[in-house]
């Protein structure tokens, strides 16, 4: 009785407009997989390609056309997830959070309660991640993010998975690189004089949590590797979102007279503008007055090309960053990447999503990896089993072989944080190149990576 009244009421009054998504139904025969992405608003470029890559992964899993094969014994056959003898179709549903916390959580709740999703991709903003955790964790719903830099995704959480390195880890890797011994640098064909006599480092980035974490990671890392360089978190230069004139910010950076500058931004227009202004204000990385360091976006070939068009020469030997792997080193990976890029670009290249970059590759990897994890668990209802199976699974993906989750050294517990290799790369003759230096196990330390409590 109550049920029918409720249905009538909900159907008639409120839900007339709301219930478009359909009701949560039989969880047994379909695997419901949902996502919350920023598709409009200031951070939409991150959401657009992430959503596109995950959607592509789901489609390929359904078609049996996976580029990456994680478990040879259980190939991607098509028709859905192979659970026992049955094929279970995957249903993918994504919402736009318009860069608003509240809408993120609205969407998460909708996915869980209305669409019956058992695993959720996103959200990625810090407070949204924390709020979402309070909804997802009690219901043991798996949450995943492939371009989150927020430690909130995994720290102290049983169900959270961060399948990328965080801003902190990136800075650890680069700070380790510039603290290397001259011998090690020489070994990899890098002139140690580049870093000789340099002491003071500066830090510039957009005012947001990623950069705030990055600055802390930078300070931590420089201390950790011997304290040869000076940096204090208080000296970071942060510009607001939507800045149109970078002069005062670069001037503030130049005022600190740094020998090395870490540009911690992933916004291409901002990065180009800052580099242009740095050159003008004497922070010249072309002549070696400073060394410019950056993250993975700085080491994208298309950015190097764009910079060249703008009259910025990045191949002076004084610009360094990192990337997640070098497909050229491994023919199997290279073949996968080439095939993937072709498919991706045909599908999305002409739309606002744009051409493939290492970031959508990471998201694609993560999605395929997760779906294999579900298959390996042999269940779509027992999330504990899924998490256990997935975390113990390694993957040879587009980002290189043997991707796996990080194991805490103190407790031996497998966490939800990806343990990726950080490859140091630079620019030579207008082309990005891998130095051969890479880091893995020794990078992970500190509360931002596996601490039990989030810093206040």
């Amino acid at each position: 009785m109550r049920g029918s009244v409720k249905k009538a009421f909900v159907g008639a009054a409120v839900a007339a407009g709301l219930a478009v998504g359909g009701s949560a139904a039989q969880a047994e025969d379909v695997f419901k997989f949902g996502g919350v992405f920023t598709l409009s608003g200031p951070a939409s470029f991150l959401g657009l390609f992430e959503e596109a890559a995950v959607r592509l992964a789901v489609e390929q899993f359904m078609k049996g056309d996976c580029i990456v094969e994680a478990i040879p014994a259980q190939p991607c056959e098509g028709g859905g997830l192979k659970i026992g003898d049955k094929k279970i179709p995957i249903e993918w549903k994504a919402y736009d959070d318009v860069s608003e916390d509240k809408k993120s959580i609205d969407a998460v709740t909708r996915l869980v309660e209305q669409d019956g999703a058992r695993a959720i991709w996103g959200p990625r903003m810090n407070s949204a991640v924390l709020s979402a955790a309070s909804i997802l964790d009690p219901q043991s719903i798996i949450s995943i993010c492939a371009i989150c830099s927020s430690p909130a995704m995994t720290v102290g959480r049983k169900w959270g998975h961060d399948i990328t390195d965080t801003g902190v880890i990136e800075k650890h890797a680069i700070s380790k690189f510039i603290s290397e011994s001259p011998e090690r640098l020489k070994e990899h064909g890098i002139d140690p004089k580049i870093f000789e006599g340099r002491k003071k480092t500066g830090f510039i980035g957009r005012n947001e949590l990623y950069t705030v974490h990055g600055s802390i990671g930078w300070e931590e890392g420089l201390k950790q590797w011997g304290g040869k360089y000076s940096y204090s978190d208080a000296d970071k230069v942060l510009f607001p979102q939507g800045t149109t004139d970078f002069a005062p910010f670069v001037a503030k950076l130049a005022e600190q007279k740094p020998d090395i500058v870490m540009m911690d931004s992933y916004i291409v227009p901002d990065m180009l503008a800052i580099m242009k202004e740095m050159k003008k204000q004497g922070l010249d990385f072309e002549t070696g007055k400073i060394v410019l360091l950056g993250n993975d976006v700085l080491m994208l070939q298309f950015l190097v090309d764009l910079a060249k068009k703008e009259g910025i020469n990045m191949s002076s030997g004084y610009v360094w960053g990192w990337q997640e792997h070098n497909p050229a080193q491994d023919p199997a990976t290279l073949a996968r990447v080439e095939k993937y890029v072709k498919i991706y670009n045909e599908k999305y290249g002409s739309t606002e999503v744009g051409n493939s970059s290492p970031f959508d590759r990471g998201a694609y990897d993560a999605a395929i990896w997760f779906l294999y994890g579900v298959q390996a668990a042999g269940t779509i209802t027992d999330n504990a089993a899924i998490v256990k199976a997935w975390r113990s699974l390694k993957i040879n993906g587009l980002r290189g072989p043997e991707n796996q989750f990080f194991v805490r050294p103190d407790t031996g517990e497998v966490t939800g944080q990806l343990m990726a290799t950080e490859y140091i790369i630079g620019v030579k003759d207008d082309k990005v190149f891998y130095t051969g230096i890479n880091y893995r196990d020794d990078l992970f330390f500190g509360p931002y990576v596996y601490g039990d409590k989030l810093p206040k």
Binding site: K6, D101, D106, A107, E113, M125, K456
Partner: protein, 338 residues
């Protein structure tokens, strides 16, 4: 004459606002879906802030564009007191938050009410932006860009309002209170003053009205409720960061009031419901959803004078007219037949 009507009118208001609150509670009884509950809670919280704001903007004609700042102050005071720096019960934190927001709004009202029209709007916008900068920079109290997380849900004794359905009860009570106090102010003395201020505040002053006092009263009143809405918002979201309290949060309130219908008490309520439903409807549209929202805002403003509530009343009046026209047509025919 009007005095003799008052008991009935106040009874009607109590009944009216009880109905709004009761609908929320009733939905709690009927709906056990957390998704709908969450939408109801967030709509309720928006109503708590926006009904009193409607008095300021609609009745008094002062469009404040910094309400997001007051929402943020409410949320952060609660956050700071309950988790960030202290561990005070949220029931104690909420009144403190209200007092802080009230004091802040009252203090700034002296300065802001030297301004009128667009100048006032932009003055409040500047204030909202300054508060936003404070949220982002004063890490001791707000956690800076990290934000504040773990804001608790209220409890009475053993009864914790942790679940959405229970939280909705509290929100409904406050929606009732916000609606009722707003109605209480909008009627009689204060309402007459507000209407006069909107029409011609110089004249009102020349006829003996203490214009500044009423302006300050309503500005503080709206800010206090926005602060309470902020405190409840923090409790609903559990974690907050500065990005929730930008200028867009302030614009959101303006949108609710104008879309719903400025100058009426029910208009903002309708605005909140309309935008909440619309947001969910367009969520399925994908990447063009904000385009549709923008277009609908433009169309509503262009073609519905007095917002949706104005539109509804117009259609209602039209329907009544048609009906009476039909009736008179029928009676004329009847008369002719006789």
């Amino acid at each position: 004459m009007i005095e003799s009507l008052l008991p009935t009118r106040s009874a009607r208001a109590i009944v009216g606002w009880s109905i709004v609150a009761a609908i929320l509670v009733l939905l709690w009884v009927l709906v056990d879906n957390n998704y709908y509950l969450r939408l109801l809670i967030s709509a309720g919280i928006a109503m708590i802030g926006v009904i009193p704001f409607g008095l300021l903007m609609g009745h008094m004609g002062y469009m404040a564009m910094g309400q997001g700042g007051f929402i943020g102050v409410g949320a952060y005071v609660v956050g700071c007191l309950t988790v960030q720096r202290f561990e005070i019960d949220i029931w104690a934190a909420l009144p403190i938050a209200i007092m802080v927001v009230g004091a802040l709004a009252y203090a700034f009202s002296f300065a802001l009410f030297r301004l009128r029209g667009y100048h006032f709007s932009i003055g409040t916008l500047a204030l909202g932006q300054l508060l936003y900068l404070a949220f982002d920079s004063w890490e001791w109290a707000t956690g800076g860009p990290h934000g504040t997380s773990g804001i608790p849900r209220p409890a009475i004794g053993e009864f914790v309002f942790a679940t959405n359905s229970r939280f909705l009860i509290i929100v409904s009570v406050f929606v009732f209170l916000a609606g009722f106090t707003s109605w209480w102010l909008a009627r009689g003395h204060v309402g007459r003053a507000l209407n006069a201020i909107r029409q011609d505040e110089d004249l009102a002053g020349a006829r003996g009205l203490d214009v500044l006092r009423y302006k300050q009263l309503i500005f503080t009143f709206a800010a206090v409720w926005a602060g309470l809405a902020g405190g409840l918002y923090g409790s609903m979201q559990i974690s907050i960061d500065p990005s929730s309290f930008t200028i867009w949060g302030s614009f959101q309130y303006v949108i609710y009031v104008i879309i719903g219908g400025a100058g009426t008490l029910l208009g903002p309520v309708i605005g909140v419901i309309f935008i909440t439903v619309l947001d969910q409807l367009i969520a399925d549209v994908g990447v063009w959803n904000q385009m549709i929202l923008g277009a609908l805002i433009v169309i509503t403003v262009l073609f519905f004078r007095g917002g949706l509530w104005g539109g509804i009343r117009m259609l209602w009046a039209l329907a009544l007219k048609n009906r009476s026209a039909d009736r008179s047509a029928v009676s004329t025919q009847a008369g002719a037949a006789e």
